[in-house]
Symmetry: C2
Subunit: 192 residues, 2 copies
DNA sequence: ACCTGAACACCGTTCAAGT
DNA sequence: ACCTGAACACCGTTCAAGT
């Protein structure tokens, strides 16, 4: 006889993320997650394969919090907007966010975020044969910088310094892109 | 009566790193580390405060493997050389390397690596008030990119693609630096 | 179909005791 | 000073059993 399901995978991931936000990654225990959902630890195994699978799911679920930027914005504002969103997600989930840099970006969700960056880079005039490479670079700076901030790698600097940092980061990326833009013949694009 | 010490902190960190390289981060248990050193797990606590302390030590110990580049090289070759070294360290220690992005860079060792980058950036002509900021950006791309590669975030692409990626990364960084270089008045530096 | 009780092997950490 | 034996609370995971 079929029972009504009391929890599902999404609920498990949500509870896990909440615990990580409140008490850190080590606090995310099958026991703690189960407690928060009002079930026993064993019940979780119907919805996640293992703790590793649970963690992967939690990390990826953060991608949903990055909004799709309006497509009618200029490319540099689209990129800057995504960067800002990324920082907000990082600050909301400081314990989990850094793991994003270790998650293979081959899931449908990761792919869709990547497409957004492709679109902005195309609009910027980046040559087609460089688009994928440049996306990897741009995404890595944004991700790595946000991760470094929330994991305290830069030490505690003031919010004023952090704001300046991000304006500098935007300047850096815009300038770094130049050699890959075709309609700028004075700066040669890298071969291959 | 003083016994001869059979292990020290350096030996503990070395054994831990070797285990992580061979079998991954999860394989690094107090038991496994102790086994490799021929002692009991409890013996480790005289040399590390906790497992977290052990892991921090292992992560930081990787910094020793980055050689100091010859100071008489042009700045861009110094930077490129450090980037290459970083990639080699990452490939030697794929399980541990990504944690470098989460380690507060305030230890003497991290500070000394940072000074090297400062020196190269000064030689490049980066304005003094931008040096620290730019170092954070440049180090983050290099670290983040190497970490992404070894943790498989980019998926398995061919070694040919990877080489192209790194030439592109160097081009990107060189170009991104331009706005922060004082003796290039056509590109205004960011305010603050 | 979904959840639980009982059980298993393993984990990090402590503390008093040995040399 | 350095290492060990014994013990503790906790961890992820399994499997048969309940509804």
């Amino acid at each position: 006889m079929a029972r009504p399901r009391r929890i599902d995978r999404a609920a498990v991931l949500r509870a896990s993320l909440a615990i990580a936000d409140e008490a850190g990654l080590d606090a995310v225990t099958m026991q703690a997650v189960a407690d928060r959902l009002g079930v026993t630890p064993m019940a979780l195994y119907r919805h996640v394969d293992s703790k590793g699978d649970l963690l992967d799911g939690v990390v990826e679920s953060m991608l949903d919090e990055i909004p799709v930027p309006p497509a009618d914005l200029p490319w540099d504002q689209q990129l800057a907007g995504m960067g800002r969103s990324l920082r907000e997600v990082a600050r909301r989930h400081p314990a989990v966010f850094p793991l994003l840099l270790q998650l293979p970006a081959k899931t449908p969700r990761a792919r869709s975020r990547r497409e957004q960056v492709y679109a902005a880079l195309r609009e910027a005039g980046v040559a087609p044969q460089h688009i994928e490479r440049v996306e990897r670079i741009v995404s890595t700076v944004a991700l790595g910088y946000a991760a470094s901030e929330v994991s305290g790698r830069f030490g505690g600097h003031s919010s004023r310094t952090i704001d300046g940092d991000h304006r500098a980061l935007e300047t850096f990326v815009r300038a770094g892109l130049q050699p890959f833009i075709t309609d700028q013949p004075d700066q040669p694009a890298t071969p291959d």
